[in-house]
């Protein structure tokens, strides 16, 4: 054997080797099960090694496609799944036993896992062979993503049910996947990301311990199944340090708090989607480089390298990505993993004084925050009191303030804004993806067909058993798998559990928040002057209502607008997410507001705005209350929306919240002058 050196990786026989790359994934799913199946098979043939399934919002929130609230959303941000029949088509010609399948599903995670198990059983696949992940992190849903359904305690119970079932029946399945990803998107600092994700893990493990359903050896294995889903932003040195801190802290927590002896089960296993929040709608081609740099944060350090990686597309700030955009992102990973020598070396950062010091600082601060949350009563309590949510909204407001004040530079957005027109957005489709409107009908027809051909008695019995088990605290997995086989629909499964557990609305976190916008900023001065003139003239403070109609729960935008509006001096009626168009119109009428502000990111703006204007019209208020829209709105839709009656459209390009407020004041004054 030749002498070994420190810059080479050796295998167990002492031969030089290189690491296997991480799993390449593309978060994908759209239109309907037929189109998505085709996409998956195509992606797999291009060298993708795992599936990451995106479900549409109705599926995520527990509604079948034929529910009125579901209709605008069918196939928009993912594939609609109504019953086991859909799963048969979705996985047609895809061998389940060879797949590592990740499902981004939370409120209905148990249902989708039950469908997957039932599919395997109907195909005759041994379910113990199944590998994959159900995201199933409800705490971050309450904090950031919004597709929760049930109250926190009941959600925790469903998660623990799944851990119990999986460990005994599908040992390679990750029953949940703790996501700091969405926390960063919601504005979390690295310390908050570390702390809140680890608190979530602690909350789940404490609940599992409390149920006491595992032997000591089983519990160790169960700890080993806890996996994480992390975000990586532009500050890639800090991100590398954050990942190293994550690994060390998880090792320490599992050892000290839970006494896990086997080091293998203490490893911090994580997948990544890099940051979309920092991607810009301005000069969107620059995002390709941003994505590459963000990728470095989670791949550079061998000790803390991700297990699986999915990258956003360069045009995500404009619209949903097309297949070509996703392919381009996949290529970034392949080039990094196969063309460069990254995977040939041991950990590059070991022994770096700078990194070690940075890691220590992050860890110290994160432990402080973890202890604070645990002192407040733990993860569930910190959801219910709104503590974590308020902390995130505060961080996000600070970030918005830094962008507006120019303290944080974003190329093409608040600096070097002039540039040549990008040829990438000049395609005939405008560089954006459009869901075929007719495809939804196919989904609805299939759902009707399932309902027509199934055995109604079996459905009734399966749902009755589900309700009974929900009430008497029996593990719900078996009843759910039977529901799946009986062709119960997504809506029926969820409705049954809703009737037992109730529905939950977490605190919005916006109370008491303010923005760190310089008091002498031009836009702030301008809007405040306009507001005092308004009060002088009309004898009251201008009132606006801000809300998110539809099922999209990414509340950042709406929260920031609400906080900014209060900071400017408006009276703001904010009542959160997942509202129907009629909810918003009713509150606008009852509150007699001067303007309605709506935020939409899911691509369903045309349908939902049409519903909203219908509602206004029905109440005789269509020309009396102006409506503005914010979100990811593709330019080709502007004209249509303006014809409907939308007065202004704001996109991620409008990063100065006070400039937005100033324009809102103009819209209100235009309306007032019309009425006088």
């Amino acid at each position: 054997m030749t002498e070994q050196n420190s810059h080479t990786i050796y295998d167990k026989d002492g031969k030089p080797t290189r690491d296997r790359p991480w799993i390449f994934r593309t978060y994908a799913g759209h239109t309907n099960v037929w189109a998505t199946n085709e996409l998956y098979r195509d992606n797999l043939s291009k060298g993708q090694t795992g599936l990451s399934i995106a479900m549409d919002l109705a599926t995520q929130c527990g509604y079948s496609s034929d529910h009125p609230i579901a209709k605008p959303e069918i196939g928009k941000v993912g594939v609609p799944i109504n019953s086991l029949d859909d799963f048969h088509i979705l996985f047609d010609n895809i061998p389940l036993e060879e797949m590592n399948t990740s499902m981004t599903i939370n409120g209905t995670a148990m249902w989708l896992l039950s469908l997957y198990v039932a599919l395997a059983e109907e195909r005759g696949v041994d379910i113990s062979q199944l590998k994959g992940t159900t995201q199933n992190d409800l705490i971050k849903e309450y904090l950031a993503r919004g597709t929760y359904i049930f109250p926190p305690e009941d959600s925790m119970r469903l998660i623990v049910d799944m851990y119990e079932f999986c460990l005994h029946n599908i040992p390679s399945w990750n029953a949940s996947n703790i996501c700091s990803y969405h926390l960063q998107e919601a504005g979390a600092t690295p310390v908050q990301e570390l702390a809140f994700a680890l608190v979530t893990a602690i909350t789940i493990l404490d609940a599992i311990k409390e149920r006491d359903c595992f032997s000591e050896e089983e519990f160790e294995r169960c700890v080993g199944r806890i996996s994480f889903f992390v975000n990586a932003g532009m500050r890639f040195v800090e991100e590398v340090s954050k990942m190293r801190a994550f690994c060390e802290m998880w090792d320490e927590i599992t050892q000290e708090r839970y006494g896990v002896k086997n080091a293998k089960y203490r490893r911090f296993r994580y997948g990544v989607q890099v940051n979309s929040l920092g991607l810009t709608a301005e000069q969107p081609e620059n995002n390709a480089w941003r994505i590459l740099i963000e990728t470095l944060g989670v791949t550079l350090s061998r000790k803390a390298r991700c297990r699986a990686l999915q990258l956003p597309a360069w045009n995500e700030a404009l619209s949903l990505p097309r297949p070509w955009d996703q392919q381009w992102s996949l290529r970034i990973q392949q080039i990094l993993a196969y063309e460069t020598d990254l995977l040939e070396y041991p950990d590059l950062l070991e022994g770096s004084v700078v990194i070690e010091s940075k890691v220590k600082q992050l860890k110290d601060q994160a432990y402080d925050e973890i202890n604070r949350v645990l002192d407040l009563g733990g993860g569930v309590e910190a959801v219910k009191t709104g503590y974590m949510k308020s902390a995130l909204v505060a961080s996000q407001s600070e970030r918005m303030g830094r962008l507006a004040n120019g303290e944080q530079i974003v190329v093409g957005k608040n600096k070097w804004m002039e540039g040549l027109e990008s040829p990438l957005v000049g395609d005939s489709d405008g560089g954006i993806f459009m869901v075929d409107a007719k495809a939804a009908q196919k989904t609805l027809d299939a759902l009707a067909e399932t309902k027509r051909t199934r055995d109604d008695e079996r459905v009734k019995a399966a749902l009755a058993r589900l309700a009974e088990h929900a009430k008497n605290n029996t593990n719900l997995m078996e009843a759910s798998i039977e529901c799946a086989k009986a062709r119960v629909t997504t809506g029926e499964w969820s409705e049954t559990l809703r009737s037992v557990f109730g529905e939950y609305r977490p605190p919005t976190g916006v109370d008491g928040q303010s923005m760190s916008i310089d008091d002498d900023s031009n836009s702030l001065t301008s809007v405040r002057n306009k507001i005092s003139d308004f009060i002088e003239t009309h004898g009251y403070r201008p009132r606006i209502v801000v809300g998110k109609p539809g099922l999209d729960g990414h509340s950042n935008g709406a929260e920031m607008i609400a906080v900014a509006a209060k900071h400017a001096g408006f009276d703001v009626v904010y009542f959160g997410i997942r509202l129907s168009a009629s909810d918003i119109v009713q509150s606008a009428l009852e509150e007699n507001v001067d303007l309605i502000g709506v935020s939409l990111l899911s691509g369903s703006h045309n349908e939902i705005m049409a519903q909203l204007f219908d509602e206004l019209d029905k109440n005789g208020a269509k020309d009396s209350i102006p409506v503005i829209l914010g979100g990811i709105i593709p330019e080709p839709d502007y004209e249509k929306l303006e014809n409907m009656g939308v007065k202004r459209i704001f996109t991620p390009k409008d990063f100065d919240p006070m400039a937005v407020m100033d324009e809102i004041m103009d819209v209100i004054n235009e309306q007032k002058s019309k009425q006088l």
Binding site: R505, V510, D571, N592
Partner: protein, 341 residues
């Protein structure tokens, strides 16, 4: 005496009358616009308020509501909004003909003057049910929490709804104010431990008519809180259970687990039936006028208000007329005064 007392026109212009007629049918938008008239600070709005209240108060008794105004206050986080949401639904279930308005008051930012009004989030009211109406109000830098604007709106809502619920964050001072404009006040508390009782002894316990311990999701903590509250009320000499009529009741509720809601709802419905549980409109007018006089003219104004004017004031019908009268008196006393109000 000044002539300004006669400056209000009691006849409503047709469009306002139309709005009032529709508001009486509880149509949401006309009603909301009418409420705004009671919040707005303009001369025109003042004129409208006078004529609307005059009109409503002169309706034949069969067509005139004399609604109950209920103050629900409590510390932040006690779960007031969720509880109110559940109470409203429960009351409507028991009495389907009932109509209820909720007026939720939130603090304004001291820095920008703006506010975030988020209480709607927690009430799960159905859409298009005219029996329920929800309105948010900013405290508008009025430190009392429930100010003149809230009082103004309750003047209107009394005539339109069977029950009006005013929801406020209570931290001591504002309970007194809520007591003024409500016929009955409930203080909502969270389950608590022994040491918290100490802090509650400081005066505010005397104000509420009824206590509600909410978030009693767990029985043991609920019972403990009940007994602690009961003994601390005895300590501060507040009567409980001695006499069924004037006893201060304690209710244990959980909006989440649907416990105790129906009991509290029935209790409130009984209050609604009992017309003796209504504050005198005149007393309220005098209270708010006095407050306004103090704000505008300080101790000097108050001295005159208290010493001489009360009997005179009664001769002037509406709040607006009384206010106008006082302005006249003050102008006579302080010739340099050109405008006020």
């Amino acid at each position: 005496m000044s002539k300004s007392q006669n400056s209000f026109e009691s006849i409503m212009p047709p469009e306002l009358k139309e709005m009032v007629t529709r508001a009486k049918r509880l149509e949401k938008w006309p009603l909301a616009q009418l409420i705004s008239l009671f919040e707005v600070n303009t001369e025109r709005a003042k004129q409208s308020r006078h004529s609307i209240i005059t009109y409503l108060s002169e309706q034949p008794e069969s067509d005139r509501k004399q609604g109950l105004v209920l103050g629900i206050t409590g510390t932040p986080g006690a779960g007031k909004s969720s509880l109110i949401g559940e109470l409203c639904l429960s009351m409507l279930k028991e009495t389907p003909s009932l109509s209820v308005a909720v007026l939720a008051v939130d603090p304004s930012s001291q820095r920008s003057g703006g506010s975030l009004l988020g209480d709607r989030t927690r009430t799960n009211f159905p859409v298009d049910d005219n029996r329920l109406f929800f309105r948010s109000q900013a405290s508008d830098l009025d430190l009392g929490g429930v100010g003149k604007k809230t009082y103004q709106v309750t003047r209107l809502l009394r005539y339109l709804f069977d029950i009006t619920i005013i929801e406020t964050v209570g931290i001591g001072q504002s309970e007194v104010e809520v007591e003024q404009l409500s016929d009955h006040t409930c203080l909502v508390l969270q389950p608590f431990a022994g040491d918290q009782v100490q802090f509650m002894k400081a005066g505010i316990m005397e104000v509420p008519n009824t206590f509600v311990i909410n978030k009693c999701d767990e029985d043991s903590l609920a019972k403990k809180s009940y007994h602690l509250l009961k003994s601390s009320l005895k300590l501060v000499n507040v009567s409980i259970d001695h006499n069924a009529d004037d006893a201060k009741q304690i209710f244990l509720t959980s909006a989440l687990k649907q416990k105790g809601i129906d009991e509290l709802a029935s209790f409130l419905l009984k209050l609604h039936q009992d017309k003796s549980v209504r504050k005198s409109a005149l007393d309220q007018e005098l209270f708010y006028l006095r407050k306004w006089v103090f704000q505008e003219f300080g101790r000097f104004g108050l001295t005159h208000f208290d010493a001489t004017l009360e009997s005179e004031l009664k001769l002037h019908k509406s709040y607006e007329e009384k206010e106008q009268y006082i302005i006249g008196v003050m102008r006579a006393l302080i010739p340099s005064l050109t405008s006020a109000g």
